[in-house]
């Protein structure tokens, strides 16, 4: 009896391992090995053809001295911490709207969600055309109200705001998650608040918001992490401005949209400084890990507070 049990466990182990084997191989080749290799690369110097040579901390010293690293980090931090509150507020508002019952609710949900599945290259191209200073739709619409619109993508003061506007078009996924969270708030909470004579604002800030806070913090973390990976949009915009693919190393007007991942990409594949690129990537990894840890801690606190209320 005991022996059959043992063999069954062994069999389960073999079966489980074999079924998961594709992922285990993939994880080894495409996650854990590259992660460790990248750490080693960050202490060495090489390009696409040569083999890595150990150079110690030289790459990291190089980063500290490179003004563009700091510029790109600043741009990325700006995007992360300005886009996150904007997108979350918009997503909550939209979720709040489509959570009400009204005619055309389904259509509104579809319209709000659809932009987030459009290929980024296509949507960026549409937006570049919309941002055209003279013939673009945005400045045309502003003109209807007598406002002279700026040269969005050519004026370093406005480029990031153009990116933020573009990004807020893609809040559909966050909206859906907020909607699911809103629907999870028990109706009885609202009913008892209404009996107590609370008004709509009180209900929203005292009941709705605390009950979806944990989801919001989680979405905020994802939004920040995504902002640190912001690449395609700026690369397409820069290619549209400079014309030729794969040869540009521009950071947009006055380097105002030189994002951190973009600068890593330039270092790795244009300047062929793959060691420096790896060091930059590890710096990014550490920043993301710290931010995530902080935000997770904040989530625990907010959910505790919400729970105790």
């Amino acid at each position: 009896m005991k022996r059959t049990k043992m063999t069954r466990r062994a069999r389960n182990n073999i079966n489980g391992f074999l079924f998961a084997l594709p992922w285990i191989i993939g994880f080894t080749c495409f996650s854990i090995y590259p992660l460790l290799a990248s750490l080693y690369y960050s202490f060495s110097s090489f390009n696409a053809v040569t083999d890595p040579k150990w150079v110690g901390l030289a790459n990291y010293q190089n980063i500290l001295k490179d003004m563009l690293v700091w510029k790109s980090l600043k741009n990325t931090l700006f995007m992360a911490f300005v886009s996150t509150p904007i997108n979350l507020c918009l997503a909550v508002c939209m979720a709040y709207i489509v959570n009400k019952s009204f005619r055309g609710k389904g259509a509104a949900r579809t319209i709000f969600f659809m932009p987030s599945i459009i290929p980024v290259v296509a949507s960026t191209m549409i937006w570049i055309w919309m941002f055209d200073p003279t013939y673009g739709m945005i400045n045309t619409a502003l003109h209807w109200f007598g406002i002279q619109g700026p040269a969005w993508l050519n004026n370093p003061q406005f480029t990031k705001w153009a990116l933020l506007l573009m990004g807020s078009w893609n809040t559909g996924t966050t909206m859906l998650i907020c909607l699911a969270a809103l629907q999870d708030v028990p109706m009885s909470y609202y009913e008892s608040a209404q009996l107590d004579g609370a008004n709509a604002f009180q209900i929203f800030f005292r009941i709705t918001l605390p009950n979806i806070a944990h989801i919001l913090v989680y979405q905020a973390i994802l939004n920040v992490i995504n902002a640190f990976q912001y690449f395609t949009q700026v690369y397409v915009i820069i290619t549209a401005n400079s014309g030729v693919k794969n040869t540009t190393t521009s950071g947009g007007p006055a380097n105002s949209i030189l994002m951190y991942p973009l600068y890593i990409f330039y270092n790795a594949f244009s300047y062929m400084k793959m060691g420096k690129a790896s060091a930059m990537a590890w710096l990014l990894f550490i920043i993301i890990a710290i931010l995530t840890a902080i935000m997770v801690k904040v989530t625990r606190k907010t959910s505790e507070v919400a729970g105790s209320e």
Binding site: R11, N13, N15, G16, L18, F19, A20, P22, W23, I24, I25, G26, F27, C29, F30, S31, P34, S38, A48, I97, K100, G104, A107, A108, F113, M114, P115, I117, I118, P119, V120, V121, A122, I126, W129, M130, Y135, M137, T140, W169, I177, A180, I215, F228, Q229, V236, A240, V244, K245, P261, I264, A268, F269, A277, M280, A281, W282, L284, F285, T292
Partner: protein
């Protein structure tokens, strides 16, 4: 009496005003969210002269369809489309083949690796692509496979954390009792999987297939890094050929973009529920 009818009337008016304002807000938001689509389609139906005339009109002054054939002529559109389709089909096939296997292993087989793999699945999603980008490039370069589609397709045959988590959640919902009968009959694990579990995973497979399609169809960074011959470009890279011209032909480019986006929108209309489920069940972004 008179007073109460007055106040009832007052509340009725307030309610109507609130309703009108609410609808106005919804319509305004919807218009804003639709405007890029509208601009894309209407620009593709304008003549170049029309698109570059002030004042800019939303609708074409003269409706033309010549931009669509022009888009196919200006860049080798059909070739790019075929390249993209080949890559996409292979990626979807890979994900559909692998995901149920791994999901089954984590959901229904009681073995020692379940907990650690489940934790690692979450962890891998936190690794920024910028960190793994250079070493993975070196792997493909050592294998002499840069410039081919291998770096774009082969990773799909090793599963994707996001899809595996989705599939694991789904298979967990399949009652054990369905499989116990098979266990008593002495079925092999693989037989149990293919005969009992796999047919039931169809809804999850549909959702994963759609997400995999979307991911491969829109992928930008991988083709940008690995594909350097123009005749091997995918659509997302190839569309940028429009930028090489001295002035960008926006009407043709918008026509090209419309055709690029169309399969995605059609897919979305038919499988809207799967899209929503994919977001809601995992609460994660793809």
């Amino acid at each position: 009496m008179n007073n109460t009818t007055k106040s009832i009337q007052y509340y009725r008016i307030v309610r109507i005003i609130r309703k009108v304002l609410f609808y106005a807000l919804v319509i305004l938001l919807c218009t804003i969210f639709l405007s890029p689509f509208i601009v894309m389609v209407t620009t593709s139906l304008k003549t170049s002269a029309d698109a570059f005339t002030i004042p800019v009109k939303v609708l074409p002054r003269k409706w033309v369809f010549t931009n669509y054939p022009a888009a196919f002529e200006q860049i080798p559109y059909m070739r790019y489309m075929r390249n993209t389709a080949v890559i996409t089909i292979c990626c979807v096939a890979g994900q559909l083949l692998i995901t149920p296997l791994v999901g089954y292993s984590l959901a229904k087989i009681k073995w020692g690796g379940v907990r650690i793999i489940s934790a690692l699945l979450m962890a891998t999603m936190m690794i920024p692509y910028t960190v793994t980008m250079v070493p993975i490039y070196r792997i493909w370069s050592k294998l002499g496979l840069t410039g081919t589609y291998a770096p774009l397709i082969i990773p799909s045959f090793f599963g994707n954390s996001f899809y595996i988590i989705m599939m694991r959640q789904f298979i967990m919902g399949i009652p054990d009792s369905l499989m116990e009968a098979a266990t008593i009959d002495g079925c092999w694990e693989l037989k149990k999987f293919t005969l009992i579990v796999l047919p039931l995973t169809k809804p999850a497979l549909t959702t994963i297939g759609i997400y995999a399609f979307l991911g491969a169809w829109s992928d930008y960074l991988a083709p940008l890094i690995y594909i350097n011959k123009p005749d091997r470009y995918t659509l997302s890279i190839g569309l940028q050929s429009f930028f090489n011209l001295y002035t960008i032909d926006w009407t043709a480019l918008m026509a090209a973009a419309t055709i690029f986006v169309l399969p995605v929108i059609i897919l979305f209309i038919f499988f809207q529920r799967n899209f929503v489920e994919g977001v809601a069940t995992t609460g994660l972004k793809a």
